[in-house]
């Protein structure tokens, strides 16, 4: 196969497509475009080992220079600003236009921001540079407020606490990671953070950041309280990076709308956090923000570019490391699911649990400091939709 493949986004999804294409026999041109100045790097360690300083920044590189060289790809540093799907060209900042036969879009996410002004001392975390800026700022911070207790917010709170900062974690939900774990197991995350001295301010929305002389002085809550802080990290979710695709002809609906083979249009595929595709069982569109989905979907897309007709039907998986606790979830916990312990009990710091829906479906296998158990419990998952 000698067609010209253009990959927009050189993080793990785009990189994996490139590698799988070469391995599968693609001998044509291969270009990867990304505005990030760093060679491809991994994001999960950014909120863990990079923030605490356990790893030097170079350790997050996904491949060695020799491995990247062996890929025989062209690396284009730039930001994609416009797609003309009919003419099959991508326009970059500065006006360069790149023509392609096959386009892979792997642009990932953009952190959501709070409304209102953003004083100095306000951080988001998606890129390596953002992680390094936060790491640089944390040692001098007196009080840290983390806005949003999802996976990322919880990991940042744990890292900041590990560095000895005074930390308040704020979220409108009843428990941290409520959407990922449900109320019971989310309650255990709350207990974990309390035990490590994090102040939790739950059940209250944040209305904005408060600044004094251009610097963060606190976080304003909907109930009128201001949480004092001189550093605020805003982790209130992300949106798919699709602004550049407006008017491109591609269908956008909280992500790039694809078919089950991850095709968005003739010759156009989407991979990773940015892609929305129909669940093979229900037909309902799903989008999965996780590290493992990016690679699994990349392998499907590469196979399809090479002429296969593979459907993407993953078991969602994510993990989170907070303090010395490792939480692993295979499947997807539903809002009203019951928790059933397979190994250990609700009182233990190490257990394996399943979550079950009202209909008796096993929706997720969860390991709490129990990686092996989580993996083997995955066999209990009911073959059924990954999202209701």
């Amino acid at each position: 196969m000698t067609s010209d493949v253009l990959i927009v986004g050189a993080s793990v999804g785009g990189l994996t497509v490139a590698e799988a294409l070469r391995r599968g026999g693609h001998t044509g041109r291969l270009r990867l475009v990304d505005p990030d100045p760093h060679p491809p790097y991994d994001r999960p360690p950014l909120s863990k080992q990079v923030l605490t300083g356990l790893w030097p920044p170079d350790r997050v590189r996904l491949r060695t220079p020799e491995q990247l060289e062996a890929l025989d790809a062209e690396w284009v540093w730039g930001r994609a600003e416009r797609l003309d799907a009919a003419a099959r060209t991508v326009e970059l900042d500065g006006g360069r236009a790149l023509a392609y036969d096959t386009l892979v879009i792997a642009t990932g996410l953009v952190p959501r921001r709070l409304p209102g002004p953003e004083p100095a001392g306000a951080h988001t975390l998606r890129s390596l540079d953002e992680a390094l800026a936060l790491r640089h700022a944390l040692p001098d911070a007196g009080r840290v407020a983390v806005v949003g207790a999802g996976v990322l917010g919880c990991e940042i709170a744990a890292a900041a606490r590990t560095l000895g900062r005074e930390v308040t974690l704020v979220d409108p939900g009843p428990v941290p990671m409520a959407r990922h774990l449900g109320p019971e197991l989310g309650g255990r995350v709350a207990a974990l953070h309390r035990r490590h001295g994090v102040r939790l301010r739950l059940g209250t929305a944040v209305t904005g950041l408060v600044g004094e002389r251009g610097r963060v002085s606190g976080v304003a809550l909907a109930d009128g309280e201001v949480v004092r802080a001189d550093l605020a990290v805003v982790t209130i979710g992300s949106v798919p990076a699709t602004a550049w695709l407006e008017n491109s002809g591609l269908a956008l609906a909280d992500g790039i709308v694809c078919d089950a083979r991850c095709r968005a249009a003739p010759g156009v595929y989407a991979v990773g956090d940015v892609a929305r595709w129909p669940d093979p069982v229900t037909g309902v569109g799903i989008r999965v923000e996780s590290r493992t989905n990016a690679t699994e979907q990349a392998l499907v897309v590469a196979a399809n570019i090479l002429g296969d007709e593979r459907v993407h039907a993953p078991v969602p998986y994510f993990w989170s490391d907070q303090y010395d606790t490792k939480i692993q979830v295979h499947g997807r916990v539903g809002g009203g699911d019951r928790v059933r312990y397979l190994e250990g009990t609700a009182a233990d710091d190490r257990f394996v649990a399943l979550t079950e829906s009202d209909g008796g479906r096993t929706t997720a296998a969860i390991g709490w400091n129990h990686p092996r158990g989580a993996r083997t419990a995955r066999a209990h998952l009911t073959a059924a939709p990954s999202q209701p």
Binding site: R59, R291, E296, P371
Partner: protein, 65 residues
């Protein structure tokens, strides 16, 4: 082929064990990868490459020999 694992990078997801159970296992306590066969035979090459690609920590390197 030769397989190299980086225990410090490993996040204990077990994707490698699922992909190539004859080559990878994981420790009971922390789930860190255990390399059962550092020089797997040719017939396992595809599964081992898949394991390396799926590893969520890029902790597995495959070297062609």
């Amino acid at each position: 082929m030769k397989v190299i694992v980086d225990e410090e990078r490993c996040v204990g997801g077990g994707q490698c064990v699922a992909a190539a159970p004859d080559v990878f296992d994981q420790r009971d306590d922390d789930g860190v990868v255990v390399l059962l066969d550092p020089a797997p035979p040719h017939e396992r090459a595809a599964a081992v490459r898949e394991a390396a690609m799926l590893c969520p920590a890029a902790a597995i390197v495959v070297v062609d020999t």
